[in-house]
Symmetry: C2
Subunit: 448 residues, 2 copies
């Protein structure tokens, strides 16, 4: 790691040549992390000490707010150079995070062709494969030899994000095959691309879901994935590093949704407390008000509670166990759906599985709990009431925890929203209703 304190003290002592040497030996990702902590004046000084290519790389790794600070201190010429060197997908990522006045200035200083491409990207929906692709790839013709292909790579390779997978296009720019540098390196230099290329390849459409596209990298062990438009014309590629980013973000979003938080892109400390609170409050209010339904159910049984106040002391156990059981099932099912291990047509298969699991779990829990209650209270009626309620709660929570996320997926909703918080609230109301009704039936005389 590059210590930001060292940078700062060298800057203050104006020891620029030493700084330059240190920066040379560090990689772009580490430098950008250190720069995220500097003020805009120090930032631009360091930035000017980097070589042009490295500067653009460091820039693309930075946090959006650091990028914004830096752009404001850059001269127009510097901004133009940076945009020139950046890969289009990094430039698009950056522009999406900037306020509109900064975007205008950036686009004014972006070369014409690149600006057109950036504008095209900005029009792809944010969850689409098109929005994360890059258009800098190596395209070959099927009549080329391996030697000619290598010559072409040498010519255009510097500007391509990856050269290891090349794309064979026909005259209409339709993708007809892919070929890896590996295949070409291991083949004869006079061999024809046509005879070496793989014609049975995986591709996605610009409008396909970016998460589905990213999952293909894991399934097929890809380094890059071609993106084609509606007419099968090749428009770009997604590289493995972008796929890893997509998966990371989608997982974080799922975890946030499962915890009843409105998802956001910013990292924990980058986000203000106010924004954190805003992202959390909506679901909390909804769930709090829903919980008053359970409260209203309890109010209906005030008489029973007054006659046997002991009944109240099992409310936390029943509610917690229901919540935990539902949480377990929902978490596994939601993760399974995200990883494509569970699909909507598995509905009944999954449901039967959860019913079997819940019977096993209910058996153990009610045994442990029944023994404890009998040992403490020596009250068979109480034991039966609690045991029956517990069994009902466990089965209901596991069934809902399994069914709701799959149904959500079927209805094209986000399964991650059908997680513990919502399920707990539903199970609480049902289990309290059942608990007091069982109590009224079995302990009727004492409650009477």
């Amino acid at each position: 790691m590059l210590k930001v304190d060292i940078l700062k003290s060298l800057l203050e002592q104006k020891r620029y040549s030493e700084l330059k040497e240190i920066l040379k030996t560090r990689n772009s990702a580490d430098i950008s992390i250190a720069l995220d902590e500097l003020g805009s004046e120090q930032l631009i000084v360091i930035y000017r000490l980097l070589t042009k290519t490295k500067a653009a790389k460091v820039f693309s790794y930075m946090e959006p707010d650091t990028q914004e600070k830096l752009i404001t201190s850059m001269t127009d010429k510097e901004l133009k150079e940076t945009m020139d060197e950046m890969f289009v997908d990094d430039a698009v990522d950056m522009i999406e995070e900037m306020p509109s006045n900064v975007v205008k200035r950036i686009l004014r200083h972006t070369p014409h062709e690149q600006r057109e491409i950036i504008n095209m990207f900005l029009r792809y929906p944010s969850g689409s494969a098109g929005s994360v692709m890059t258009i800098e790839f190596v395209d070959l013709k099927e009549y080329m030899t391996v030697a000619e292909a290598f010559a072409k790579i040498k010519k255009v390779g510097v500007d391509s994000e990856t050269i290891y997978t090349c794309y064979v296009l026909d005259e209409e720019r339709t993708l007809i095959g892919i070929i890896t540098v590996r295949t070409m390196l291991l083949a004869d230099s006079t061999a024809k691309i046509k005879d070496l290329m793989e014609t049975n390849f995986i591709a996605v459409n610009t409008l396909d879901d970016k998460e589905d596209a990213a999952r293909k990298f894991d399934k097929y062990d890809l380094l890059a994935l071609p993106v084609v438009d509606m007419e099968s014309k090749m428009v770009g590629i997604i590289t493995v590093d972008d796929a890893v980013d997509v998966l990371k973000e989608e997982t974080t979003e799922d975890i946030e949704k499962m915890a009843a938080i409105s998802p956001s892109d910013a990292s924990y400390f980058k986000m203000s407390s106010l924004t954190h609170a805003k992202n959390r409050i909506l679901w909390l209010v909804v769930l709090m008000l829903s919980a008053s339904i359970t409260g209203a159910i309890l109010t209906k049984y005030q008489e029973a509670i007054s006659s046997v106040p002991l009944l109240v002391s099992f409310i936390p156990m029943l509610m917690n166990t229901g919540g935990n059981c539902g949480n377990q099932s929902a978490s596994l099912i939601i993760r399974g759906i995200a990883l494509d291990e569970i699909v909507p047509s598995d509905f009944f298969k999954a449901l039967f599985k959860e019913v079997r699991i819940s019977l096993l779990v209910a058996l153990v829990l009610s045994l442990v709990n029944g023994l404890r209650i009998y040992a403490v209270y020596k009250d068979i009626q109480l034991m039966v009431v609690i045991t029956l309620s517990l069994i009902f709660t466990v089965i209901l929570s596991k069934v809902l925890g399994c069914a709701l996320p799959i149904l959500a997926k079927k209805l094209k909703l986000d399964p991650a929203l059908m997680a513990a918080p919502l399920i707990t609230t539903i199970v609480d109301a049902c289990s309290m209703f059942i608990y007091f009704n069982i109590a009224l039936i079995i302990m009727g005389q004492r409650i009477g």
Copy 2:
């Protein structure tokens, strides 16, 4: 996708040459998915229709139980050929999942050198970088020219999992530099490796945590990461596809732990209901028994409950809101720790942030709730009691949800264990204690 029904019907009609043609056009990952659903007799027929190299690839993509089925039907010669063609890391992954009698048969038919390497791998601890690395990489010498390097790649490339990053070793096999095929392709063929190689590279130790190693791929946009031993000698590489697998598994494990489930490698449907139940029951029993502490606290206030039974109806709201608030904070903090955005030294910074957030959240929740209670019950005392209890519950749950995971990390425990289920149980007990004490103080006359 390859339809398993088509395979089955072609098999039954013994139309083997057609089958062979279909298999040729499909990629290994899709074939292996289809094969996972066949019986062992059909499996071996299809397997024999594949070319040797493709067969090994298909084999390494299969689920462990399909691999086991297939191995049992293979002749010794076929087993030997498969092991010959497989990459060492795939072979190790497979062996780790097989019962010991199958392992013995596999190792008996593995070439001597490969067997030694497999044995070496099996000795690396399961969470270590060594356990996921592969030893098939291209090593170069610094005095080579680019042309000589390409000649070497051509010679050893077929057996290497990736050729795109090559490793420059000295006579003692110490790693002194790395060089990409891209750099070499764009350079002159007479250029020396020494002048082109990157000497400032990222490497990990065999015993480093595999998750930390995998995170470096995202941070530095890597395709492969060299693994060195204690003496800086190069022993293997981790490739990006293995890194993606590691991250996927670790995230699934975290999600399972956060839902109070003992983590497991198997996918949802591959695991029996009994195993599912076993993985879930331990925490359920622990949390159920802990919840009876909250129950015991409620028992202490039976008198208050008998006098003002209405108090009971706010228990679900307080417990749910506490649970949801704690879940939000714990989920964000645990994910932040997993992504290295939050480190143990951020303890106080994170704590102050959660306190600020919880004050904002508590303000909104208590306003909404206070108004509702006043509108429904016209009871100022009740409103004050509930509002104070709610504020206390929100702050406590957010503070615990933030503090416990970070403390766990500090103590080298798994932060994911300090998630909603545990925090809810603690918050429930505390909030019920506070609730009834506030009620006794403020509504003392009515309760008395």
